[in-house]
């Protein structure tokens, strides 16, 4: 397929995704919606941290910053995996357009890629707003010291980690999309499981070192662990690992995940076409 056709498919899918996600509200309401959930999530963890520290009698700002960065960047995991898991079901059973997309020139996988990139774009909006409001609430209103020097953050390194991390999440999303081509019963459970496991074992709000050893082994195999380590290394003066090593591990786990995603999706697409599942509507 010509590169221009691929590019056009992806671009149109991003546009469709943006319209579908935003057409129910004006931009202000949409922004509020996209910030309230992640901000409330950050407030929950922030207050757990503040209250837990208060009753224990010691507050460690460096761990607060650890939690702050981990929780805000976890938005990408939630947003991309949720978008990609619900997509097939929504387009097939709810909007009933999957068959048309499948038959149209271009390809279903580029359409899915575009929708995933739109999810990442929305996550970026949430991230910026959540960080801004999080700093305002915790640092300005509550007087919590967050030891992050925003001027000396290594932003190119953050961007590089984000690009690779997003590719990894999209690869996981392709596994979900493939599975959901074959069934209409687990699209809501898949992202919940993955985000739940990643949140607990990926070092999102606490270092994985406090987990039991068997759980640490799983943590060491998860790409999200390296994604968040790489991002933290770029933000925080206190080193939680080496940026280059974490980035290398992130790249390696992303390559493996991308391979698995491509194979699962290709096999699922073949089976779905063979068994006539592309336009099978189920009310689950």
């Amino acid at each position: 397929m010509a590169v221009s056709t691929i590019f056009r498919s992806v671009k149109q899918a991003i546009w469709v995704g943006w319209k579908v996600e935003t057409n129910w509200a004006d931009p202000l309401v949409f922004s509020i919606y996209y910030v309230i959930r992640p901000l409330a999530g950050l407030l929950i963890v922030g207050f757990v941290f503040i209250i837990g520290s208060a009753v224990a009698g010691s507050f460690k700002p460096e761990y607060f910053a650890y939690m702050f960065i981990g929780n805000t960047f976890f938005i990408y995991v939630l947003q991309v995996t949720m978008t990609m898991s619900f997509l097939i079901h929504e387009d097939r059973s709810h909007y009933e357009v999957l068959k048309h997309i499948y038959l149209a020139p271009g390809s279903l996988r580029y359409y899915i890629l575009g929708r995933a990139l739109n999810g990442a774009m929305n996550a970026s909006i949430s991230l910026v707003l959540t960080i801004g409001l999080g700093v305002l609430i915790f640092q300005r209103l509550l007087g919590i010291n967050i030891p992050i020097d925003w001027l000396s953050v290594n932003y190119p390194a953050v961007l590089l980690s984000l690009v690779i991390g997003t590719l990894c999440m999209i690869s996981i999303g392709f596994v979900f999309s493939g599975i959901n081509l074959l069934t209409s019963r687990i699209q809501f459970a898949l992202p919940d499981y993955v985000s739940g496991i990643f949140y607990l074992l990926g070092g999102v709000v606490f270092p994985p070192e406090i987990l039991p050893s068997w759980a640490q082994s799983i943590s060491n195999a998860l790409p999200v662990t390296y994604f968040l380590r790489a991002v933290r290394s770029s933000f925080l003066a206190q080193a939680y690992g080496s940026f280059s090593v974490d980035l290398l591990y992130l790249a390696l786990t992303t390559v493996v995940t991308a391979f698995v995603g491509a194979v699962v999706f290709k096999a699922a697409e073949y089976k779905a076409r063979r068994d006539g599942l592309i336009d099978r509507k189920e009310e689950y």
């Binding site: 919606y33 959930r37 520290s53 224990a56 019963r185 739940g196 606490f206 270092p207």
Partner: protein
Amino acid sequence: MIEDLVFNLKVAYARLWVRVKGGNREPHWILTEVTVPILTLSAYVYLYKMLNAPAEFAGFVVIGGTMIAFWSNVLWNMSAQFYWEKETGNLQMYLVAPISRMAILLGMAVGSIVNTALRAVAILAVGILIFQVPIFLRDPAVAVLIFVLTIVALYTLGMLFASLFLLYGREAWHTVSLLQEPVHFLSGFYFPVRYLPFLIQLVASAIPITFGLDGIRRVIISGETAIDVLPHVAALIIFILILMPLSKLALNFMENLGKKEGRLTLRWQ
């Protein structure tokens, strides 16, 4: 009068049966609804452990994580239910049938309570066992009373939301999403609400589960007695007395408006 009552109780039972049967038809759903909350609450328990908080905080998290099952159920399976029914074509059947719409909501609510209670017991048991939560329950009857009042208040709120969400059309999904994490924060699902700033506590007092959760924790984890949680009981009763007639009013309003505008069964809007 009695005939009507019996007839509508049968309607409620029929809706209850569908809810119980439908909610348990896929065993992996039950597994998911038990496992996922345990994963989330485990993260908060480990965070408290990292901070060296007292063991009772693990108990607060486990109780909060258990009650989230009910809140999520109220949002997705009560509040958004008429919206889903419209999307799948069942709503018009409810509306043309010679039955009380409140009976439908009652059946939906009781069925949801049965389904969610099964999952909540599993989450509670696993949470207590895994994290060795200290329990100081001195007055089980009070704990049961607060729990029952909380559930009734919550599901009455769900009955009210069911009509309101239908009026919002396609915003239902987003509205449900908006009522998750913000309410988890405001109502103190992962920490006692008394630690929040006063203004936030004031806002949180508009949500019935705030009182229910705090009362249940005080009785089960902190070993407090009936006298200590009397304000919680009173607040929950007031919530029920206000929400019950409001839900009936909202249902009538929704139905009349829908008939007038002719969009009650219009999908994708």
